[in-house]
């Protein structure tokens, strides 16, 4: 095992060396770094060209200039020496600083999108696999491929047009006309009817319920100006919490486990009580506090499950903990919604909350909730665009993997010995289906650092992609190399991790030294 890792690392270092040399030469040869001065009629033209030549060391031919760069870059390997030197960009900023800032921007942009795409993608994949060749399956497949084949710059521009500009216009006077409420209700009902399984009667019933529910909610929202002053309130949290309790128990323990269901419901009750107790504390929230509260909610859930006891304590604890965590999330959501009017009327936001560019409103001031909402309104559109585009691969991959597993002999055995369908799907099939997906996820995290160049450009986020493009534009290899090094190293490390994870998860695969 150690030999294997060592051998992989040595190969990676060699690949990195060769590739970096190649990339450096390509960047240096990609254009004329002095182009902007060529048609400059001013007398100081020569001086400016000399200054740029000196800055970029253009008098050294690129194949040799690489080694000057390499000499500085190699010092990054010396731990704690703080002598890392990746050169400077045209603005005279050290690349290490520029990379630091760009990395933060890119990670804020893509982390949420990647996590959500994985969660939604895997869920959809499993559902479509279980309902193979159903209308739902075809529908999801169609949508996934549709979004996959859309160019992201176009999706992004459309999202900005309707999701930001259109939605903000709507918020000025958030009234949903009755016809629109009915229309949206009909669409929602139809989708539900299609998605719901079972005999026609059941589908129609589900569709009708969904139609009535959505239309009623929209009319209620419109009448109470909910979009201006959104909120959940304890009643809604209690109702939604009960739903969550049933769903979580269904998936994690099965509804037959009454103790687990009771634990989950108790957790909801405790959560609703905590909702009132926590309000004064939440007014002075910090990020650390939210994290600690999340941990506290999980612990409370575990404690409830433990105290309920029963023949399978573990299941009760799990169901209660997950439920408690989700109820805590609802309370958090409610608190964000309470801050919405303040954010909406902030003099910097001026009643147009959803942003089309950047990562935050410049100079916005406010408490944790307002600032949180500000990040949220800036991230929602790029995140949505990235999710839509990357959903397809996760959905299809999970579906394929799940279908393969569901046809395995051991699944038939499990069914034959009388296990419930829930146990078969959740415990025997799902876990094994995740093995190949784990490797895909590892790959994607490696690619994540490289950023989403186009998304960054359209949403004007100055991350890794911008640094890269800017370097290319000025024929300045330093920023390009900085981005390249970061991306290449993460990609290689995560490739290695993917291989190791595979062998760790799947007992049939062994790493041979």
């Amino acid at each position: 095992m150690v030999t294997y890792i060592f051998r992989r690392l040595v190969t990676a270092a060699l690949i990195l060396l060769g590739a970096s040399y190649f990339v450096y030469l390509l960047t240096a040869a990609s254009g004329d770094p002095l182009e902007q001065f060529r048609a400059n009629p001013t007398p100081q033209k020569q001086q400016l060209m000399d200054a740029r030549t000196e800055l970029l060391q253009l008098d050294t031919p690129a194949p040799l200039r690489y080694f000057k760069w390499f000499g500085g870059a190699v010092q990054c390997l010396v731990p704690f020496a703080n002598s890392c030197d990746l050169g400077k960009n045209i603005a005279g900023q050290p690349i290490t600083d520029a990379l630091g800032a760009a990395l933060v921007q890119t990670l804020t942009l893509v982390t949420g999108a990647t996590v959500l795409a994985i969660l939604i993608g895997i869920t959809l994949g499993i559902i479509t696999a279980l309902r193979q060749y159903s209308t739902l399956d075809y529908g999801v497949t169609f949508m996934a491929f549709l979004f996959f084949s859309l160019p992201i710059f176009w999706v992004a521009v459309l999202l900005k047009e309707f999701g930001a500009i259109g939605f903000n216009n709507f918020l000025r006077n958030p009234e949903v006309p009755l016809s629109a409420s009915l229309g949206i209700g009909v669409v929602a009902g139809a989708l539900t009817a299609v998605a719901a399984g079972g005999p026609l009667k059941r589908r129609l019933l589900a569709g009708a319920v969904a139609f009535a529910f959505v239309t009623a909610v929209l009319i209620y929202f419109s009448a109470t100006e909910w979009f201006k002053k959104p909120g959940l309130g304890p009643v809604l949290i209690a109702i939604a919490g009960a739903g969550i309790a049933f769903a979580v128990t269904l998936l994690s323990a099965g509804l037959k486990n009454r103790k687990a269901l009771q634990s989950a419901l108790i957790a909801v009750g405790v959560g609703v009580v905590l909702y009132f107790l926590l309000q004064p504390l939440l007014n002075e929230a910090t990020f650390l506090m939210i994290v600690l509260l999340a941990v506290a909610f999980v612990l409370i859930g575990l404690a409830i499950g433990y105290l309920m006891g029963g023949y399978d304590r573990g299941q009760s604890m799990r169901a209660a903990a997950i439920t408690s965590f989700l109820v805590g999330f609802l309370i958090l959501l409610d608190r964000f919604m309470q801050a919405w009017p303040t954010y909406f009327n902030n003099s910097r936001v001026r009643g147009r909350p959803i942003a089309t560019i950047g990562a935050s409103t410049p100079n916005i001031q406010g408490d944790f909730w307002v600032l949180g909402l500000d990040s949220f309104t800036h991230l929602i559109l790029p995140t949505l665009a990235l999710i839509l585009i990357s959903l397809a691969s996760y959905t299809r991959f999970t579906r394929a993997s799940m279908l393969e597993i569901m046809n395995m002999d051991y699944i038939r055995t499990a069914r034959a010995k009388g296990l419930s369908e829930r146990t078969v799907v959740m415990r025997h099939a799902f876990r094994n289906a995740l093995i190949p997906i784990a490797t895909i996820v590892a790959f994607d995290i490696g690619a994540l650092i490289g950023g989403a160049v186009i998304t960054e450009t359209v949403f004007s986020v100055r991350g890794m992609g911008f640094l890269f493009l800017d370097g290319i534009e000025h024929v300045d290899p330093n920023p390009v190399m900085g981005v390249f090094i970061c991306v290449a190293i993460t990609a290689m490390v995560f490739n290695l991790i993917a291989d190791l994870a595979y062998s760790a998860l799947d007992p049939r695969v062994r790493v041979k030294a």
Binding site: T42, A91, G92, M289, I357, N363
Partner: protein, 593 residues
């Protein structure tokens, strides 16, 4: 037992609650109390720029990008600024700049009492001396070949004018400075002292370990003019100051030391968010120039034109000036119904076709024939009309229509002979000859490609054999003037104000005279031009030179680039400006409705 368990649980819960409140934020206020953060009086505006700010000194070779100059313009003041008719406008409230004598040219600068930096230090002649030292390169004695000597200030501008002066005379009150030129210099008015005096001498002096600005002046006074042939050892104090001038003001985040961003203008930088935004607020002390209406200006950086338009539409930006393209102009025009105002105008950059005075074009008749065949109106129709319906071919090699003398010059310079395509006239001049002409242009620039194909098509009709000499983005610039082509299509930028640029392109043997135009009479006029200090006299000379260039069948100016700016109905007072300062030129007139 039961009771014990419950009380324990309560105890644990209480302890947890205390621990959680301990990590609560100190912001104190709950959400509903932050609404009244910014006052409405004066108002604010958000301006979009393409490039990100990176230095408080926009004069250096690495720092002279448009955004740095604009921020410096808004935060500093000086003896003059340039308006959108390309006139030099004096700011007498800041101080007086007067020509004391014509021979030798002597200029006296007097800074008014009460003009001060934002740290309270008065703006004095020492600040002017620093600018003079940096802009003139007076102390440089570097010899590039021998690698000896020192180059102190790395100035991006043209030092040739100010280099004609000796160490200035300073008044006793510390507010006057008199510059004596060894020979007249045409652009003396814009050479020094504006639009902003941007680097404070007292900060640099302190950096070099000098007691005050007096010690700074004494140090400079004591040093002789640098001589590359007899380099002196480095003066460490001046070097320390120059190094700070060169790179010490480079930053992407707000420096901890406020001395690095002192203001003496209408605004002062308040916050810098790396690569995201920059915010300026009104400088309370400022009363030595046009008073700003707004309390706050925020600059945000957006590279893409469509993203700029959508930001304007969504209210995130108030003023934008994206790269003009047919799509962008169309999108902006569509926003006019929501109250957005759009200004389309000319820029100082213009495209032109130059003919070499060699090869097939050595014969003037051939040049003239070719010029007759260039379809300038078609080129304007195809390339610029869709952006600016009022666009017309540019008819002067030296003026742009925004300058007052343009109309006069056009009347007499002979451009009227090339208004339409005259294939017959061209054929007559060619007299049956079919010269082969290689045209070089940047084939990665769609406008140049369009211009080339229209010219090529039309010239072929007249009997020319056109060879496509288009080169890629990375090669065309290097090929300029190397003799591998006979004609070339590319762009120059008119300086708008000042005449130093004229000889660079048109005087015999100069660096940027790529087609080797040479006319002794014109050379003589240009020599006279750069020592003429009177504006109307300058215009007269340029008109004569313009005519000579046209008469010798130099080539043709084609069209000016189109610029566009747009602003929302929240803001008033934005006016189009053709030069690099763009909409910023009158930022003090911007107001919130």
């Amino acid at each position: 037992m039961r009771l014990g368990r419950i009380s324990k649980a309560v105890g644990v819960a209480a302890a947890a609650a205390i621990a959680l409140s301990a990590c609560a934020g100190n912001s104190g206020g709950t959400t509903p109390s932050t609404a009244a953060a910014a006052s409405k009086q004066g108002g604010s505006a958000t301006v979009v720029e393409v490039n990100a700010f990176n230095t408080f000194n926009p004069n250096t070779a690495d720092g002279n990008t448009d955004i740095n100059s604009k921020v410096s313009y808004a935060t500093h003041s000086g003896f003059f600024y340039i308006d959108n008719k390309l006139n030099v406008v004096r700011n007498e409230k800041f101080g007086k700049m007067e020509k004391v004598s014509d021979d030798p040219l002597t200029v006296k600068y007097t800074i008014n009492d009460g003009v001060k930096w934002s740290d309270g230090t008065p703006v004095t002649a020492a600040d002017l001396v620093l600018q003079w030292a940096a802009f003139s390169g007076y102390y440089n004695d570097a010899n590039a070949e021998a690698k000896t000597g020192t180059s102190y200030f790395s100035y991006a501008g043209d030092p040739t004018g100010i280099a004609l002066t000796d160490f200035p005379e300073l008044g006793d009150d510390g507010r006057t400075m008199t510059l004596k030129y060894s020979k007249p210099f045409a652009d003396w008015e814009i050479a020094l002292g504006g639009p902003g005096i941007d680097i404070p001498a007292h900060v640099l002096a302190k950096k070099a370990g000098l007691a005050d600005t007096k010690a700074f002046i004494d140090l400079l006074k004591g040093m002789p003019r640098g001589d590359a042939k007899a380099p002196k050892p480095v003066n460490t104090q001046l070097k320390a100051m120059a190094d700070m001038w060169n790179t010490g003001f480079d930053t992407k985040t707000l420096p901890a030391d406020p001395n690095l961003y002192l203001s003496n203008g209408p605004f002062i930088v308040k916050s810098l968010n790396q690569d995201q935004s920059l915010t300026m607020v009104k400088n309370k002390d400022y009363n030595w120039g046009p008073e700003a209406q707004l309390d706050e200006i925020t600059v945000r950086y957006i590279g893409e034109a469509p993203a700029q338009v959508q930001a304007l539409k969504n209210g995130e930006a108030d003023i934008i000036a994206p790269q003009a393209s047919a799509d962008t102009v169309e999108q902006l025009k569509a926003l006019e119904s929501q109250g957005v105002s759009v200004d389309v105008g000319n820029q100082l950059a213009y495209d032109h076709i130059d003919l070499n005075y060699s090869g097939p074009f050595a014969d003037k008749n051939v040049r003239e024939a070719f010029m007759k065949a260039v379809p300038r109106a078609d080129i304007v129709d195809k390339i610029v009309k869709k952006l600016d319906p009022k666009a017309a071919p540019l008819d002067s090699q030296l003026f742009v229509p925004d300058q007052a003398p343009y109309a006069d010059s056009v009347k007499n310079n002979g451009s009227s002979a090339y208004q339409g395509v005259d294939i017959e006239g061209a054929k007559k001049l060619l007299n049956g000859a079919t010269p082969e002409v290689r045209i070089m242009y940047n084939k990665d620039n769609p406008n140049r490609v369009d211009a080339y194909s229209l010219i090529s098509e039309s010239a072929t009709k007249a009997g020319f054999k056109i060879v496509d000499g288009g080169l890629g983005k990375s090669d065309w610039g290097k090929a300029l003037g190397d003799g591998t082509y006979d004609a070339t299509i590319f762009g120059w930028t008119n300086s708008g104000v000042g005449v130093s640029g004229v000889p660079q392109i048109f005087k015999s043997g100069n660096d940027s005279n790529f087609n080797k135009f040479s006319d002794p009479a014109a050379d003589k006029l240009m020599d006279e031009l750069i020592v003429t200090t009177d504006k109307s006299k300058q215009d007269e000379l340029i008109q004569q030179i313009d005519k000579m260039i046209w008469d010798s069948a130099y080539g043709l100016p084609l069209f000016q680039s189109v610029g566009v700016d747009a602003y929302s109905d929240r803001i008033t007072g934005v006016k189009y400006m053709p030069n690099q300062t763009g909409v910023w030129w009158n930022f003090w007139e911007w107001a919130q409705k």
